[in-house]
Amino acid sequence: MAQASSLTRARRRSAWLFLTPMLVILACVAGWPLLRTFIFGFTDANLSDLGGYSFVGFENFYAVYDGEKFGLLADPEWWQAVWNTIYFTVISVSLETVLGIIVALVLNQEFKGRGLVRAAVLIPWAIPTIVSAKMWNWMLHDQFGIINDLLMSLGLIASPVAWTANPDTAMVAVIMVDVWKTTPFMALLTLAALQMLPSDCYEAARVDGIHPVRVFFKVTLPLIKPALMVAVIFRALDALRVFDVIYVLTPNNPNTMTMSVYARQLLVDFQEVGYGSAASTLLFLVIAFSIMAYMMIGRVRLDEGGH
């Protein structure tokens, strides 16, 4: 099929026509900012004097002066951030996916008040992150936080836990809040996938007497997999770039510092536009690599469908 018929070509033409508005907008909106970040990564630009920068090559990434190593790649904090981010992403996205599917399965059932429950489930996602993170900060407070109070009155813990301050629990707290906040995202997308399923093969499964759990794993899951995979990709993207939750709950805590927090610190707090842009570029590479790996392992097919 080396050469396509002009029918196919016409179809492709109209496809490109359809793609154009989206691509133009994206190029306009994202093109310059991304390019700029990329370029700045190779300069020593500083926010206090943005005009006066010079190119420094890969110095922001790696350089040696007087036997001492400089640059991101030599910065243990950066690597700590990378590790934190990946740890956070793997755990929270896994939890969110599993919980999201469970919630979606429940919401998929017919029951009285389903509409209200659907709305209720979406609430965590609907509350602005800065607000909800602060709210959790308050609720997780060791002295007057409701979580400690609850856990203590339930007898689960003996003395209040300083959730966000304790290095051991800081990440737990962050993951907990993130899971609470973004499970609705997964749930809603999974729900949509569930609702779009072709219904009749389920009848076949029912008649064949296949156990619901098996049906779920063998029929439902494979069928919603494409949508689920995409949902996971976007969740993972967000998690890999996580910022707000951590910034509000456990700011500047090396145990929970993620790549984005690190980059933001450089870019905004330290005004090191060059260095920060380099970090952002590196962050991009880490994310791209992770997502590619995920798509490879999860066999996400990009080229499916259509004719």
């Binding site: 009749d200 499964a205 029912r206 008649v207 064949d208 007497g209 296949i210 069928l223």
Partner: protein, 376 residues
């Protein structure tokens, strides 16, 4: 024991009642065929039996047990869906093996059973394809395969052969019959194919608009339809109906006068009929023969001649609203526009009263006589 018994089963979709109190008794191991016009409720009945739809009213039992509230999986049925309902993401093999898996069959046994079914269904070369890469008939065969590998107590087939070519259909018919003999499961089978219905069924159930019109063996329905609807439904091309008036009623015969003026005496039960009643005489196309216009029951001009090869169908304008159809030999030389006369033996005719109810035909039951006639 897997007798299927329906007692006053009703089904409503919203406000519309689709099944109006069906009573039915399908014996263990019986091959029961449902026939009826499109939309009469055949699939719905199957789905009720399978447990895919809730029974709105009435009672359904399978093998002595009321199963109204039982989940489909506990009913021991397998079903071939009219719309196939294949698992789109599984290969043909997986589609067929999926139902087996649960029953904790060993992989070997699964493979064996699936391969056997695939062989029968001529799907061996397609086992690795997904449904969307199959032709319509191939999909349908996969759907059949999925049911037959399971060997359940009750099979439900919803028009399982409708998309197969004639040759394959005959083969499948034979295979299903064999399967039935081997497994002795109860089979409930929906079909629009007269040949399938007549050859496979132990019992045919004729449905019409959600009600049972008649239940009986194929030949019972053919020879003794209870009413005009069943008479018209069983047999293809369908029976011709000729209006007539009763002239004389004796114990074993009824003499009627056709609209054409011809008088015939039919060997049917005349009790209750009176001279002057309007009745309908039914004549099947295959019972017609050509005759001189003066001895013929009816005569008219030929409007259309259809050549089927093995036979010909002659459509005659004989005065009624509908054309009269007669089946003639395949090498017929009758041409459109010619005038012909049509005759049928009186013992082959049917008689229906004003309400469409059939009069009992007395001659057909006389088996020795008929046998004598046949060989003669």
């Amino acid at each position: 024991m897997s007798e299927v018994v329906l007692k006053q089963v009703k089904k409503r979709f919203g406000p519309i009642e689709t099944i109006h109190g069906v009573d039915l008794n399908i014996r263990d191991g019986e091959f029961c065929v449902f026939v009826g016009p499109s939309g009469c409720g055949k699939s719905t009945l199957l789905r009720l039996i399978a447990g895919l739809e809730d029974i709105s009213d009435g009672e359904l039992s399978i093998g002595d047990e009321v199963v109204n509230d039982k989940a489909p999986k506990d009913r021991g049925v397998a079903m071939v869906f009219q719309s196939y309902a294949l698992y789109p993401h599984m290969t043909v093999y997986e589609n067929m093996a999926f139902g087996l898996d649960l029953a904790k069959r060993t992989k070997d046994e699964q493979r064996e059973r699936v391969m056997a079914a695939a062989r029968v269904l001529q799907l061996e070369e397609l086992l690795d394809r997904k449904p969307k890469e199959l032709s319509g008939g191939q999909r349908q065969r996969v759907a059949i395969g999925r049911a037959i590998v399971r060997k359940p107590k009750v099979f439900l087939f919803d028009e399982p052969l409708s998309n197969l070519d004639a040759g394959l259909r005959v083969q499948m018919r034979i295979e299903l019959t064999k399967l039935h003999e081997k497994l002795k499961s109860t089979m409930i089978y929906v079909t629009h194919d007269q040949v399938e219905a007549m050859t496979m069924a132990d019992k045919i159930v004729v449905l019409r608009a959600g009600s049972v019109e008649q239940v009986g063996t194929p030949l019972e329905l053919y020879h003794h339809p209870q009413n005009q609807f069943v008479a018209g439904f069983i047999g293809s091309p369908k029976m011709n109906f000729v209006p007539a008036v009763v002239i004389e009623v004796s114990q074993q015969t009824v003499t009627v006068k056709l609209d054409s003026g011809k008088e015939v005496t039919l060997p049917v039960d005349g009790s209750g009929l009176d001279a002057g009643d309007r009745v309908t005489v039914g004549i099947r196309p295959e019972h017609c023969s050509l005759a001189d216009q003066d001895t013929a029951l009816l005569s008219g001009t030929v409007e259309v001649v259809e050549h089927l090869g093995e036979a010909g169908l002659v459509y005659v304008q004989a005065g009624g609203d509908e054309l009269f159809v007669a089946r003639v030999t395949g090498d017929t030389a009758i041409v459109t526009g010619s005038s012909i006369g049509i005759h049928a033996r009186v013992e082959d005719c049917y008689l229906f009263d004003q309400n469409g109810q059939a009069r009992r035909r007395l001659d057909v039951d006389n088996e020795p006589l008929r046998a004598q006639l046949a060989t003669g």
